[in-house]
């Protein structure tokens, strides 16, 4: 199993370590609920160094990324990022990712479990790309580490960690001056690091991408300055419950090579109007003619065990049949009820359609609800 440069810190903090996507990562330090609520009310600090970083540069980088990814990178000014997907010709998802336009190059932040698959896919696409000699791909995942600082109080202390002005990216005097999805280079102990106003929790927050050898000092500094604002280290368990409450997809659950962004409800990130790109024909067809399955959010309506991935979803009534499968599910720490995401035929996808979730052979009532389950305050 791979370890991040923060492994020793996780051990010192008493983190409970589990395997995730080939990495040994903390699932929690104290309790998932404590850490989840710290992020909703105050602030949480996550190690996301397991995620991958791929740098794309060269005169044809923009054209190549617009061919390989679903969103339109031409919308990005230097210092901006966007959520996007990388699809096969069939529309099936290779990965979902963030792309940042830095100065002269693009930075792709990809899922830990997909680093090799993404790098191989992008290399293959590049070899077929007409201007392939004008694009350079560099997988810098091993040399690069990252942390996420998330929660409504993070903006109160982030500027004490990184000194401005920004030396690249969005022109900003300090990290808290960044707008959502903006990214800038600031300095930490005289070393340049990238700070973006992004995250995976549904709260305000920042992500910091830095050389692997810098990240332990950055973590300690953030912990020290965030303490008075209630900052807690938070593990993958809270990361998962937080993202489920706001219905953000997790690769391997909501997304895989047999599922398209349209089926997953991510059509907003598929720029059909930008011209040809890998997967466009299938995605355009689905957008025009509909899909065979749709991702729905549902809540358990009676007292029941929480829904879990792979539990069968049933329709209700005399024609009751197995119509789909849960892909993510948990007890929501913010709402105090079982919540889940699953794929069903489109005629069962409209709120408030009644469903039943099969839990250990017994069926419990559930209701399709609008996404997301939770919206940040203010």
């Amino acid at each position: 199993m791979k370890r991040t440069p923060l492994y020793e810190i996780h051990q010192q903090l008493g983190g409970k370590l589990i395997e995730f996507g080939g990495w040994e990562m903390p699932v929690q330090y104290t309790s998932i609920v404590d850490e989840h609520l710290a992020v909703r009310k105050n602030a949480g600090l996550f190690d996301i160094s397991h995620m991958g970083e791929i740098v794309v540069s060269g005169p044809a980088a923009e054209g190549f990324l617009n061919h390989a990814l679903t969103n339109d990178v031409r919308k990005l000014a230097p210092g901006q990022g966007q959520y996007t997907l990388c699809c096969k010709e069939t529309g099936g998802v290779i990965d979902d990712l963030y792309v940042y336009r830095l100065a002269a190059e693009y930075l792709l932040i990809v899922n830990a479990s997909r680093i090799e698959a993404d790098a191989a896919w992008l290399e293959k696409q590049l070899s077929l790309f007409p201007r392939s000699t004008q694009v350079t791909l560099r997988n810098v995942s091993d040399a690069t580490a990252a942390v996420a600082i998330q929660g409504p109080r993070v903006a109160e202390f982030i500027d004490a960690c990184f000194s401005g002005n920004a030396t690249a990216g969005t022109a900003a005097a300090k990290p808290s001056a960044l707008q959502k999805n903006q990214v800038s280079q600031f300095s930490f102990e005289d070393q340049p690091v990238w700070v973006s106003r992004t995250g995976y929790t549904g709260e305000d927050g920042f992500e910091v991408v830095a050389p692997a050898e810098e990240i332990a000092a950055i973590w300690r500094k953030i912990q020290a300055v965030g303490k008075t604002c209630g900052l807690k280290p938070a593990g993958l368990g809270a990361r998962d419950t937080l993202r489920t409450e706001v219905c953000y997809p997790l690769y391997g659950h909501e997304l895989d090579e047999h599922t398209t962004p349209i089926e997953a409800g991510l059509g907003f990130f598929v720029a059909l109007d930008k011209g040809e790109f890998v997967g466009r024909a299938r995605l355009a067809d689905q957008k025009a003619n509909g899909v065979g399955k749709k991702l729905v959010a549902f809540k358990m309506t009676d007292k029941s065990a929480p829904p879990r991935p792979h539990y069968p979803i049933w329709s209700t009534g005399p024609q009751s049949a197995k119509i789909g499968e849960v892909v993510s599910g948990t007890q929501s720490p913010s709402l105090g009820m079982g919540i889940g995401l699953g794929y069903v035929p489109p005629n069962f996808a409209k709120p408030p359609t009644a469903l039943e979730i099969e839990i250990r052979g017994k069926r419990a009532p559930a209701l399709v609800v609008a996404k997301p389950f939770y919206r940040k305050v203010g």
Partner: protein, 127 residues
């Protein structure tokens, strides 16, 4: 450090049994609740169900996972703890008192000899 009361017997799978005459009360250990954290749901066997020692008979769900509970002793279920069904957090806060699971009338009290002593259980969990 985990709390392992001296007056209980323990199963390797982290259940405890408080044996009183021909009856026993069953729950899960402080170590087990600490590993699970944030118990959000408990499913108990119905009163009257006959259990074999080692049989899967209850489920505890934390935020992250569902875990099977195995009966440390064989017998017939005579009572279940409705309070812990209504308030699963009792498993975390009072694993040996308010967080008990069920009571059984023992079919073979000598099975208790197969369970771990407090010292043996402490050793198992590295306490």
């Amino acid at each position: 450090m985990a709390n392992v009361p001296a007056d209980l017997k323990y199963a390797k799978s982290h259940e405890w049994a408080r044996i009183q005459g021909s009856e026993a009360t069953v729950g899960i250990t402080d170590h087990a609740q600490h590993e699970l954290t944030d118990v959000v749901f408990v499913e108990l066997p119905p009163v009257g169900r006959k259990l074999k020692a080692g049989e899967s008979c209850a489920v505890v769900e934390s935020v992250k996972t569902a875990s099977d509970i195995y009966s440390p002793l064989g017998g017939e279920v005579t009572a279940v703890n409705k309070a812990v069904v209504d308030n699963p957090a009792l498993v975390n806060s009072e694993p040996y008192s308010g967080g008990w699971f069920y009571r059984i009338k023992l079919s073979n009290p000598s099975e208790a000899n197969d369970l771990l002593s407090p010292e043996q259980y402490l050793q198992q969990i590295g306490g």
